[in-house]
């Protein structure tokens, strides 16, 4: 067992938690404003694909990250227009975006790179060298910044009020639609960065559907963390740790008969944990009251 629990596990946990934390904090801005963001997954995929493609083309990973943010923003804009202006069902819109973002990169990579869903490999010198320490530092900074923005600024007060009781916010002179737009767009930017991290931080290219459900795990962490920044970060770390452990377990933990546990089973663990956590804790977690309900002024 000591082979599993080591300092390497901590670094690995941080690496694997990073996209979850970024996406979950993004989701928090959206959901606190009252817009369900099931499209985190799609926004991450868009960010991952755009970051890898642009880094490959330009040779500069920082430009790539910006491209990832921009891609997340564009997808978020679609979500915002549909949900806020046209009062579409937020879950359906989000699902549509997720499905679209499975197909879109495959289509574009066919057009740009003559491949079936992946971008070409990016050489190592064109990637950002990330040390776990630096990542940890940035994550803590972003979490604290989110906390401050949410609880200590007029912006945060308005954002939360719009998600809890948009009529009250409106009566107090807060522009509901504008606040919701900002919330959703911020979630797109952060999810875009999360995606960029997956494609050009953890890896060196984009592969088809490479986020493999992390957007949903981030959403689960957001619920588990009761829509609060620090708790959500801790929830992401828990999911990251689980993923890290499962990676280390491969080939190490064996069945009593001496055979390896099939790797597919080990891969199930983080998803199983998500289900268990959500089933067990969702009752005690209180979502923003107006979440999922479009704001209609005159009735």
């Amino acid at each position: 067992m000591t082979e599993i629990f080591s300092i390497a596990l901590i670094w690995s946990t941080i690496r694997l938690s990073t996209p979850l934390i970024l996406a979950a904090l993004g989701g928090m801005f959206s959901e606190r404003s009252g817009v369900i963001n099931i499209a985190l997954e799609g926004m991450m995929l868009a960010g991952a694909f755009a970051a890898a493609s642009v880094t490959h083309a330009v040779g500069n990973p920082f430009v790539g990250v910006l491209a990832g943010m921009a891609a997340g923003l564009v997808i978020a804009l679609i979500h915002a227009v549909a949900c806020i202006n046209y009062k579409a069902d937020q879950v359906v819109t989000g699902t549509a975006i997720n499905i679209l973002m499975i197909g879109m990169p495959a289509f574009l990579s066919g057009a740009f790179f003559l491949s079936s869903g992946s971008t070409p490999q990016i050489p190592k010198e064109n990637l950002i060298a990330l040390t776990p320490m630096a990542i940890a530092f940035v994550l803590i900074l972003i979490t604290l910044a989110t906390w401050y923005a949410l609880y200590k600024t007029p912006f945060g007060l308005r954002l939360r009020s719009v998600g809890e009781n948009p009529e009250a916010a409106d009566a107090a002179g807060v522009r509901v639609a504008r606040m919701r737009y900002v919330g959703v767009l911020l979630s797109g930017v952060l999810a875009g960065v999360a995606g960029a991290y997956i494609s050009i931080g953890q890896s060196s290219l984009f592969t088809r559907n490479m986020t493999s459900g992390r957007g949903f795990i981030a959403l689960a962490a957001l619920i588990f963390g009761k829509w609060r920044p620090v708790q959500t970060m801790l929830a992401c770390l828990l999911f990251g740790l689980t993923e890290a452990v499962t990676i280390q377990m491969q080939g190490v933990v064996k069945l009593p008969s001496g055979e390896d546990i099939p790797v597919q089973f080990i891969h199930m663990v983080p998803y199983l944990l998500t289900i268990i956590v959500l089933a067990g804790f969702i009752g005690s977690s209180r979502p923003p009251k107006a979440i999922g309900i479009p704001y209609q002024k005159e009735r």
């Binding site: 600024t153 007060l157 807060v174 209180r286």
Partner: protein, 502 residues
């Protein structure tokens, strides 16, 4: 101070305001009265920028202003306290007050500064409230103070209050009125929307009466009386008192012994309650809302899980504590719920379908060997209810949503009366119902009691429970804290029991 000139507003085909002219003089308390749907709230919501008028103009201090959003209204010194409070439950008092007008820079909220200002205003207007308390932990009276502070914090010179006393106890109403008088002394102008005539006469300087979207009267309060106001509001003479003969009571129909109800949270909302309702009497339960009335009625109607109940509920001689709603109905219990939208109607279903809820599985609604609904029978039943209870428009094919609150209520009452109940459980029978319909509903309830039915009545309207009931229990924090004779007890006496509990 404020003048609405020829305001017209349509919602679809409905003309909510038809060339409405209202003049509010500075430094006065101005009452706007009218039945539901008369257009009072609409007119004031237009003044506050919540709605946009189709025609007409708004003048503030003699100048025309284009008020398109609450933001604009706040800027010219208009504040509004809505009937349903516009507060964010999970936030603190201070957060709610400053929301949208935050002190400090754009990046940092200056709560210290907000605190100082809020304390200053609470002192000045005697609106005591703790700025750090979370809204959902406050009583409605305290929440109302927060709403007033919110408007004052935004430097409102004119306060529009929409049905402000609907949620208050008699003591709180007195206190609230003294707050309003203090505001008038400090030079504020107050507009109070209400349909309670006693309050109009008690607090206002001037009255504007509305009916069917039009202004039908402008009066000096000193020069008018309740009968005149009621006649203007309804458009005909109205009987304001309930007329009834002494009750001829029989045996106990319902007996409740040591009943307690446990909430999902584990707290007891009804605590060790015992009482009887006899045939031919109306037993009233008075209390501030949220003191266990809802849970008590749901427990009696069979809408709670038996695991939440302890004690005993007997109808005639049968213990029904663990029985479900269907069996209770079959034993002759009818229920008029407090929330007609949640428990009483399927809003998207038509009147005919709504009129058979509760008997939908029985003969004669189900015919042909118990397999099909008999449309003819359904329509006949619906038409009988609609005619018997004067439901308008009298069209069984309309969805329930299309009816006004009063007509929805008449439909429910008609449906429940139709089963010839032995015991009627009725909560807030006239909430949101017009004066004309209230008179009708009261007469029907008394008629049912005279025919020998046992009636258990819960109402937040003290005047209603005292005038209808033959005996009156007072509930406080889930306990029955006293019984009074409604013919002799004073409102003040009952109010004291409601708030203090002894």
């Amino acid at each position: 101070m404020l003048e609405l000139r020829n305001i017209t507003k349509r919602f679809g085909a409905v003309l909510a305001n038809d060339k409405v002219n209202i003049v509010v003089k500075p430094g006065t308390i101005h009452a706007i009265v009218g039945e539901n749907g008369a257009g009072k709230s609409t007119a004031m919501r237009i003044a506050y920028g919540f709605y946009k008028a189709d025609e007409g103009e708004i003048l503030v201090d003699g100048k025309v202003h284009d008020i398109g959003t609450p933001h604009d209204a706040i800027a010219v010194g208009i504040g509004m306290v809505h009937q349903h409070f516009m507060l964010v439950d999970t936030m603190t008092v201070a957060e709610n007050i400053v929301l949208g007008a935050e002190p400090g820079s754009g990046i940092a909220l200056d709560f210290a500064k907000a605190d100082v200002e809020i304390r200053r205003l609470s002192e000045e207007f005697k609106l005591a409230v703790n700025p750090h308390a979370v809204i959902e932990h406050l009583s409605v009276g305290q929440q109302q103070r927060v709403e007033l502070l919110k408007a004052l914090y935004r430097h409102a010179r004119l306060l529009i209050l929409d049905e402000p006393t609907a949620v208050l106890t008699p003591q709180e109403v007195e206190e609230f009125f003294s707050i309003l008088r203090r505001m008038r002394e400090q030079g504020k102008t107050v507009v109070i929307i209400t349909h309670k005539l006693t309050e109009v006469l008690a607090i206002s300087d001037e009255v504007t009466v509305m009916r069917d979207g039009r202004v039908v009267g402008r009066l000096q309060t000193k020069a008018t009386n309740a009968a005149e106001l009621a006649r203007l509001m309804v458009g005909r003479e109205v009987l304001l008192r309930v007329e009834k003969t002494p009750a001829k009571t029989g045996n106990a129909e319902l007996s409740v012994r040591n009943l307690s109800v446990t909430d999902r949270g584990g707290a007891n909302s009804v605590k060790d309650v015992s009482f009887e309702v006899r045939k031919g009497e109306i037993l009233g339960i008075a209390g501030v809302e949220g003191n266990g009335q809802t849970e008590l009625m749901e427990a009696l109607a069979g809408l709670l899980s038996p695991s939440q109940l302890s004690g005993e509920i007997r109808v005639e001689d049968r213990d029904i504590t663990r029985e479900g709603a269907r069996l209770r109905r079959e034993l002759g219990i009818a229920h008029i719920p407090e929330d007609r939208h949640r428990r009483g109607l399927l809003l998207e279903f038509d009147l005919a379908e709504n009129s058979i809820l509760g008997v939908h599985y029985r003969h004669p609604i189900v015919a042909y060997a118990g397999t099909f609904l008999d449309n003819g029978a359904i329509r006949r039943r619906a038409v009988e209810i609609i005619e018997g209870f004067d439901v308008r428009p009298a069209n069984p094919d309309l969805p329930a949503r299309a009816l006004s609150g009063g007509n929805q209520q008449k439909l429910i009452i008609g449906r429940e009366f139709k089963v010839d109940p032995k015991l009627l459980l009725v909560s807030q029978p006239t909430r949101g119902v017009d004066i004309g319909a209230i008179e009708f509903i009261h007469r029907k309830l008394v008629g049912l009691r005279d025919s020998g039915c046992a009636v258990l009545l819960v109402s937040a309207e003290l005047e209603e429970v005292t005038s209808l009931s033959d005996r009156l229990l007072i509930i406080h924090e889930g306990r029955i804290v006293g019984e009074v004779d409604p013919r002799v007890a004073t409102i003040a006496e009952i109010g004291l029991l409601m708030t203090r509990g002894h």
